[in-house]
Amino acid sequence: MSAAAAAAGPSPVERTEQRLRLAAYGLVLLIAVAIPFFLGSYRVGQFTLVLAYSVAVLGLNLLVGYGGLVSLGHGAFFALGAYTSAILIEEAGLPHLMTVPIAAAVCFAAGFVLGLPALRIRGLYLALVTLAVAIAVPQLIKRFDGLTGGTQGLNVAQPTAPGWVPLADDQFLYFLTLVLAIPMFVLAANLVRGRTGRALVAMRESEVAAKAMGVDLARLKTSAFAISSLYAGVAGSLYVFSIGFVAPESFPLTVSFAFLAAIVVGGLATIGGAIFGALFIEFVPIYASDVSDALAGVIYGAVLIAFMYALHGGVMGVLRGTGRRLASRLSREKRKEPLDEPPQPNVAPAASDSPATRPPTITGS
């Protein structure tokens, strides 16, 4: 977009695109609300899990997609949040909802601490530090078996629908999760649109330049880790509500990797991508093992590779490209005027063109 066009305010194409985006949000919300009324309880349970996962994926995307800091250990915070909730519910008898802010606070603090090494090391070295944490956590859980139930795990009572709510338990749980997940998405969207988001992206693009522009890198990095872990912690709580059981085996390394895969599948540095990423990590492994028990892992991997090839920029990249093309066609038909610029390919950045929504360069694609 030229500087002149920017000064003249949003172009017609952009306005149409804006509308399309709003319509898409509305559609997603509608589907989200409709799901529990049209599907059986097992499926509703699966979508409840998708919502829980999406919060963790979203948090990781803030860190990796926007901030360019790699974490291979988000499963650890997910576990920490899950166990915090589980122990508080089962041992301390707290009501479910009250454990969510506590799990969030615990993970925020833990994330802050893990953010400290990020001040000194970066790239692969940082990735390895976070990986070590993810490896250590299940072992630690087993060692503190007085509190955590050890390998046996903990059975956790699930939230049940109060009498005045005309919903089945699984529907209630779904809406409870939805109501907790939506603010997390709104919060993240506001965060990346504002100062912090711009600072994160500036840091991702060039730490030196960001510093020169007055970004406090140390504070930014630690708070990025802390906030991202907070998201994982909330997701862990929601996961416990939905599964009703935690064990060390709930949090193998593959959980951390699945979250990473999810942000790439959904689209790096996107907010909505978290939903698609979460859908991917919940459903693809299950379908894979339905196809063949013996080849489940291979099929999952193959699908993941196929996604990487077919969808540059993730699902959100494709959606944006489609939306943009649709928008330019719509506005051309309506106004019968030629395009002021050619349509962009799939990987095109969003029309708003703020750096915060541009896919980062670390995809290597």
């Binding site: 709003l22 609300v33 349970g45 390998t151 795990g153 005309p166 009703g244 064990a247 085996e249 028990d293």
Partner: protein, 408 residues
């Protein structure tokens, strides 16, 4: 744009109104049990087809062969048994998801033979809350029969680990009354149950546990544990492990200079899966227990039950190894299930539990003298075992069937 935003809000409000109007889904409550019709009975199971405990998948194959065999011979009162199984990789969280899927999605009549102590502990609260029978679970933990009132829909099948531990203790008291025992155990419910039972059973005797080492089921190897136990000066080794680790332990001991009396728990006493890979020579002299007929024991060569099993397995699961005891196990557990289904007075879940809690029968594939008995106060179907010793080629039964002391 404003208009569009308006539509979005209208849509949201409409959906909220929909909820408020009480469009809660009708759950099928009260009606006759799901998963059973005049033509079909749906059963569900969760097994490790992948992961460290995947050797157990033969149990599913044996059970499936029994059900197929029964189906081809008229089924249960004309009902064909459909057995749906899912992979949980021996991970409790996946077992939870599988149980939900089987109950809510596949709408099975009952869970049958779900495998693994931690896995069954992970699902039993949920399953009992749903009032779904969780019968003949494939684990020997003592939990399943301990408190029937707390989990009325759950019951085990095989002799529980406490019973088994008692029988080893009795054997040692007779054969090696001042044994110094080193124990390797799996650090979970299964391992602690058997170890606890053994420690209790040797109380007041001259038998001492001089060393204990544990491992996690996810560990790659137990070499260092064996080294420590070998250095403990024990003359007896109680091996409380699942197949992969049983084999590792036998091989590791063969390589060391430690020559203890080796007691291997029934779970790991598979010749095909454990002793052969570990080396048959290395396995000579190992003591274990059994409660069903060993397909390799020549004394059962012309046994009707054994012939029936071998023929059915060959027909319905041709790729399975008939000598794999886990196939026999699955076959026997499924035969007990068929018996329980046959005794049901009505086609519903409560009637199945009534039938399961009032068993008094002999399952022909079990060792002669062993009966399957339950009552409202006895939640342990099989409570007898026989000591066996590996002679370098096959297991040899020693002495007689031993009844557990719990049975009064």
């Amino acid at each position: 744009m404003k208009g569009l935003r308006g539509y979005v809000w209208i849509a949201v409000l409409a959906m909220v109104a929909l909820i408020a109007a009480g469009c809660g889904r009708d759950e099928d409550k009260g009606s006759s049990s799901p998963g059973i019709t005049d033509a079909e009975i749906k059963l569900g199971g969760s097994y490790p087809f992948s992961g460290p405990a995947s050797a157990y998948k033969s149990i599913r194959d044996g059970a499936k062969a029994q059900f197929d065999f029964v189906n081809d011979n008229g089924g249960v009162d004309g009902r064909k048994i459909k057995f749906t199984t899912l992979d949980d990789a021996y991970e409790p969280p996946r077992a939870v998801q599988n149980a939900r899927r089987l109950i809510q999605q596949e709408k099975v009549f009952a869970l049958f033979n779900t495998l693994g102590t931690p896995n069954n502990l992970a699902i039993w609260d949920y399953v009992n809350k749903q009032k779904v029978p969780q019968v003949f679970v494939a684990t020997g933990a003592s939990d399943w029969g301990e408190d029937i009132a707390a989990h009325p829909y759950t019951i085990g099948w095989q002799p529980d680990y406490v019973t088994e531990a008692q029988i080893y203790a009795d054997y040692l008291k007779k054969e090696k009354p001042s044994a110094k025992v080193a124990v390797l155990y799996q650090n979970d419910g299964f391992g602690k149950d058997l170890l606890g039972g053994f420690e209790k059973a040797i109380e007041g005797s001259n038998i001492k546990v001089v060393a204990k080492e544990s491992y996690e089921v996810t560990d790659p190897t137990i070499a260092s544990q064996i080294r420590k136990l070998a250095g403990s000066g024990a003359d007896t080794f109680l091996n409380i492990t699942t197949p992969k680790f049983s084999a590792q332990a036998i091989a590791a001991i063969a390589k060391s200079d430690w020559k203890p009396l080796h007691i291997l728990n029934n779970v790991g006493a598979s010749k095909a899966l454990v002793l052969t890979p570990a080396g048959l020579d290395n396995s000579k002299g190992i003591i274990s227990t059994s409660y069903f007929k060993d397909p390799e024991d020549p004394q059962w060569q012309n046994d009707a039950a054994m012939k029936e099993y071998k023929a059915a397995l060959k027909k319905y699961s041709p790729r399975s190894n008939p000598n794999d005891p886990f196939n026999v196990y699955g076959w026997g557990a499924a035969a007990t299930m068929v018996e329980a289904l046959n005794n049901m007075k009505q086609p519903n879940r409560e009637a199945l539990m009534d039938s399961v809690r009032n068993l008094d029968t002999e399952i022909p594939i079990l060792l002669p003298g062993i009966t399957v008995q339950t009552s409202d106060t006895d939640g342990y179907p099989i409570e007898a075992m026989q000591i066996q010793r590996f002679n370098g080629d096959r297991w040899e039964l020693l002495g007689k069937v031993v009844q557990s002391k719990r049975q009064t």
